[in-house]
Symmetry: C2
Subunit: 137 residues, 2 copies
DNA sequence: CTTGAACCTGACACCGGTGTCAACTTCTAC
DNA sequence: GTAGAAGTTGACACCGGTGTCAGGTTCAAG
């Protein structure tokens, strides 16, 4: 598929996809004219890359991590070196703290939103005040 | 307490605490010489502020949110306006997506770390490879 | 009074993935 | 062949909470 479709299917902007390739996180075949061509596997990979970025990892770390992770196609891997394992372990700890912060923030938002819809005598007509169930992490 | 102690107790740098005050998120008494003095309630408040920042909210949004949230001391509140509720609802949705990304990232890290300690014939002597249980959100 | 730790204000820099625009080329459907 | 959608490279800007340094002031203990 071409970059536009990959962007649509993965939910990541074309700009970011090109950046990922620049950083060596994504590879593509090229058409004779230079247009990128991606396989289906790229969708999953992009989603993972995006998740890792969202978790606060930088390009360099993701670049070291990618060849060591079990891919969707169960492709061949390297094993993470001790140094990389240390780094990933630290990242994991940071992510755990971050998840804790996010959960606290979510609670605060929930309470505040609930208090508003309970307390306002002027119910906003656009949102039916039904809050979705807590996300299953 | 003074700013140093608050920093220690909340785990937030003095620099950030002064910035929070600048942004109107935190109030302090001042000593005759100008030194800040905080009550015990400040610790909880700072932790919440920090969590909200970590969740990606900016100063302006936090500033609007703070007076509407139920504080630790159950202090008096305003109610969030409809416009603010909309904003908070959007933020909550974003946080939910972010938590999903973080969970995926954590899984990837876990698998990669586990694969490394299982696959390496050279066990790094510093970490006993016991992975902590998944964090109870 | 003296001394050293703690605090004050103000300023500068940073980071790095992403949005956006420009100018041009390639692809595709008719 | 031709028009228009889609893709390409390159460059510029941004954001905003935080780290850090400088130079000066305050506080508390001896």
């Amino acid at each position: 598929m071409r970059i536009g479709e990959l962007a649509r299917r993965s939910g990541v902007s074309e700009r970011s996809l090109r950046y990922y390739e620049d950083q060596g996180l994504l590879v593509s075949e090229r058409s004779p004219g230079g247009h990128r061509n991606f396989g289906d596997w790229a969708v999953d990979r992009v989603i993972r890359i995006q998740a890792l970025y969202a978790a606060g990892l930088n390009s360099a770390t993701i670049g070291r991590l990618l060849p060591c992770m079990r891919d969707a196609d169960g492709g061949p891997n390297e094993f993470a070196t001790g140094r990389l394992v240390d780094e990933l372990t630290a990242e994991r700890a940071r992510i755990d703290r971050l998840i804790a912060d996010l959960s606290l923030s979510r609670e605060i938002l929930d309470e505040t939103i609930a208090a508003a819809s309970a307390g306002l005598s002027d119910p906003a007509p656009h949102l039916p005040a039904g809050r979705p169930p807590a996300p299953r992490a």
